[in-house]
Subunit: 362 residues, 4 copies
């Protein structure tokens, strides 16, 4: 079903941006994994609004309650239900949206598909839906840490509009990325990116960019032939994040400019380990991880909600105009970074359990 | 499971490139859809090798047998099993691959994951696996034609290495695309693209590029919120095709260079129909089709098999060298076009049935 | 995953008997179905403890909160999350169970499988888990009522130990069943059944029996060939209810005493409708409903928790003895009736949506 | 989908009784399991028609071809496709069934659901469909033998109409069961059962009965709470076999005649092993195996096809009469025995892989 993700580590998110709250149920979690609300809260805090001057000022503590599946500090092996109440709701900001479709939002398509729509907020299309994913990924990361202690998942803002960061995916650290409010991996890009976002917000405009992610010290053997290739699962995962328009792994679109002799990654031995000299493959060959760094990029469009009047139509099919209201991010990228990491962790955890089931231990 | 695709129109492919054959089982097909082997053969013929001077000369008639699920020329509603025998097998071409891993192929990762590998060919990582997809998509297209008679799915080669085609996605025709062996939509690009592919083949090298696809006259309402957004399903589908490295929809990566005021697609009324002035969204908003053209691009890397000596390692973990043998495409793009169309049809058919189940008729 | 049920109307239950609460997430619900907490509460009240002198006195209001998926009194088409807080928890009653395995309970098997166990109550093996099912079935029944206004699902206590009710499945009414605390369909059996349950409770003992269920005015065409035959789905559904040991449909085990000439159900015409003279098939042929009453029976063992000392072992693998404590049903049957109806509604709703997806409207 | 079974060891069967053949695709099979066509043929031979004087004389060699997934005598970890051609087809026997619905068959319900039907045989409702299950179970048994070398799955005919066998489930052997054409575990019952079946056949009548199955030396920990309890999976599996009307595990329906003090299974220690004194639970508690013998019974109705004239209706909705033709079993039980064992093996194999995925090695 469309609100569930994963085959063995399976999450089901629920909740609208305005209403009783948002949450997630995790089924298939291995037992005896230490887990507390603090573990989850740490990750939620990276995602929540109101963290800095360049993101939405909506005030949500995003406090997480574990409703089930954990006993005496450990997972039980039964479903883990997590609940985050909505607090700072201002449906009044949305009164106009009751009748008018916001351009490049989900208002029109939800109305058309379902014949109804939670117009008092973004509904399921709101970024608040991703709270459940980030919370579930906290659990996934605990499992991954147990299976692969050296594994690292790091995402950062690679570009904001035309400003491109210079980042070495093999060495960039979490400290560098978290040290700046843009969450880029390039200290020199922080100033220009911050300035651009502030400028856009001041102009009632918005901006997009690219988030890059690297998985370091990945095990070999993750991913499955044909439809659940690791890159296919990652592509689905990334394109399921709101506002995404593209995904590429390894050499990506630029790789089409190379010839086969340039693009192929020759194997060599590093001690007992099979390695590749280059890594245009992005750590995945035939849909299965080869032990090299897994690197991929996700494109985010400029935020659809802008504080500028735009042409649109009403649900009565009359042409009209609409100017954005409410509290929104002029650039979603800083808050998208933990979401990209979360979806990556969910993909890896699910594939790790699937590998164990079919092929035994790692 | 990783060899199945779709939730309601569910296909399961099987088969290695060398062995008894390849095929597919389709479960969930609506009953009373007229279907013959000729319908399927027509699509398989577009995919099969040996069609022109720029693709692999492997001679396979790819003759399809319907084993079940069709009675008196109509589908029964029960599983449709389709079988294509392998004919022109030359395992001798693969003797060297028994021990040596081909760079940027699946040999090493399959061996590592499974502890075994069908070394006498590409196994499941071979492009022959896509026969089952193309055959199943023939059935999907029949269903789509019944539900949405105006719907068109058209893919073409948009670029080969640095050579970019100029194509108007709103008007390009199947006739134009099929009129040339490259399957590009731009008559002016045929010559340069053909020359480049021939040149690469002569040099024992290979080349990649981009396939673009448009869905015209798409209905509104296809796709589901959150994890099965239409673009997420398409992204998984495209990245499951061998040799793909990237996917983008609508404005894609280039859309990150625009601001929100430039990128948003204002709504207007065209008669009784809600339309958008621009279509940076690529026909999908909030994961659901909005009735505009759905346009996306998929990046294919240069073919991994090249007739040039490359460094590699053996399965005994000794460094060695390998030169490609066998019959291969120096450029997979012309044959990738029908595969992209096939995966697109499978995604649309599955989402159409899912929409019917939840929301009633279209 | 094992805590989800249904393919298109998919429910995922969560929660332990002691802890934050229990609940369910429903994915795939059609939009625009009127739904309120009162609708659900009505069904939960039939299932909850403390209803009469012959069931557990645990005091739980089982108040249901709709957290998502409903807006302005109608379903949105997005996930419906339902939460019931646990209130009357007495973990002190379970101190002894921390170390000792209750005979014929899930304590030992959970400990063995997971290496941990929510010993302060029945965990997921508690009957409280069924709250989520009953709540979800309230929604399923709304959908069924819309699709098939004449459809009726009625369950009743057919036997308690050796006391067998005499009930005409074609005419028994909800009023008759709900008019007595045993929930049997035979007014003459109420007294003996009630007396037996009270006697057993007074003796610190327990008793089981059979719940029968009939689906009247069922449509034809529900169910799918092979693994998801309607009776296979019902069998899984019934055997997933705690304390069940058997399932039979139509003639059931007794049907093995007949010959083919006696057992076959001859067809005849009743006006324009194809009917069968007898109904040994139980309303299902080849896994698909034929329009006759669908009748089946489920066996419930005597409640495992008894107030009598029994031999057992500890989790340290030492032999010991245990006497039940806490508040329990000496006979689960009266409260099992709404659970059987709930699981039946979930099966029918899921199969109805699946039929629509593949075969179109009913 | 309804033609697939299992979550991790997933089989998809296809094929009609008359047509190109029948088969199965297995996805998720662990790699490096030795497998040959002979392994599978041995099991198919037990199921196939024409084995003795009391089963259908249809002559089918049921020769199995492995089309994929096996290389150099071992499984590859990729899908295993198995094909059995139909040989001895006599569609002429079915001419009358084109228009007339056979009582207690699937003809009417298929026609009603799908608007079409493979009238030249039993279609998917034929027992030939079970060939795919038996073939897939051969593979499952190989995996189980590797994981649990002591595990035994044994089924036998426990009753034919009123003739009940006396069998000790703890000691009955495969040799005893296979030594007689009825496949009962009681040598004294062979004569009466055989005579009854012959008598019924001579009279153009048919007869049903009960198949009992025991799983000996089962591991603890198989099965999952709530919807995929081991008994729920077994119940679905058994009720998916054609002609079944009931399932019971452990004490079953008879257990409702006991009180809690009689029914509970006290624990004791046998060396280091936790055992139960009695086994009314049937080896499963809380949905999870406890290490005791798992015992269950499945009711099979008398064969629907009888050589006696019966009332029925045509597909034009006219009342008429029909007399069975073709070659059929007057009693399906002898051939049902290997099918019950096959479905049991499929359930156990799937749950074993699921246990490994979530909880690690056994």
């Amino acid at each position: 079903m469309s609100n569930s993700f994963g085959q063995l580590f399976r999450i089901s998110t629920w909740g609208e941006s305005h209403g009783g709250g948002v949450g997630v149920v995790i089924d298939g979690c291995p037992p005896c994994i230490p887990l507390s609300e603090d573990d989850i809260q740490h990750d939620l805090d990276r995602r929540r609004p109101g963290q800095s001057e360049i993101v939405t000022p909506r005030q949500e503590s995003d406090t997480c309650e574990i409703l089930s599946g954990v006993f005496e500090g450990q997972t039980l092996g039964t479903p883990i239900a997590l609940l985050v109440r909505n607090k700072d709701q201002r449906p009044s900001s949305y009164t106009e949206m009751k009748d008018k479709y916001r351009p490049s939002h989900a208002d029109f398509t939800y109305d058309t598909k379902y014949g109804t729509r939670a117009w008092h907020g973004g509904g399921r299309a709101s970024a608040r839906e991703t709270i459940g994913r980030v919370a579930a990924a906290s659990v996934a990361k605990k499992i991954l840490a147990k299976l692969f202690p050296e594994l690292e998942i790091l995402a950062w803002v690679q570009s904001v509009k035309g400003i491109e960061a210079t980042v070495d995916a093999s060495t960039v650290t979490s400290e560098t990325i978290e040290s700046n409010i843009v969450r880029t991996g390039d200290p020199h890009a922080v100033g220009p990116m911050t300035d651009l976002i502030k400028e856009m917000r001041a102009a009632g405009n918005s901006v997009g960019g690219v988030v890059e992610c690297v998985i370091r010290n990945a095990p070999t053997g993750l991913g499955n032939p044909v439809f659940d290739k690791l890159e296919a699962s990652l592509a689905q995962a990334m394109l399921s994040i709101p506002a995404t328009k593209g995904f590429e792994i390894g050499s990506g679109f630029a790789g089409t400019q190379l010839t086969g002799t340039e693009h192929n990654d020759p194997f060599y031995m590093e001690g007992d380990t099979v390695r590749t000299i280059t890594n245009h493959s992005g750590g995945v060959q035939g849909g299965i991880s080869n032990g090299e760094n897994i690197g991929f990029r996700t494109a985010f469009k400029p935020t659809a909600t802008i504080m500028t009047e735009q042409k649109t139509v009403s649900n009565k099919h009359e042409e009209t105009a609409l100017k954005g209201r409410g509290r929104h991010d002029a650039c979603v990228l800083p808050r998208a970074v933990p979401i990209v990491e979360a979806m990556t962790a969910l993909v890896l955890c699910d594939h790790a359990l699937r590998h164990t089931a079919q092929c035994g231990s790692h």
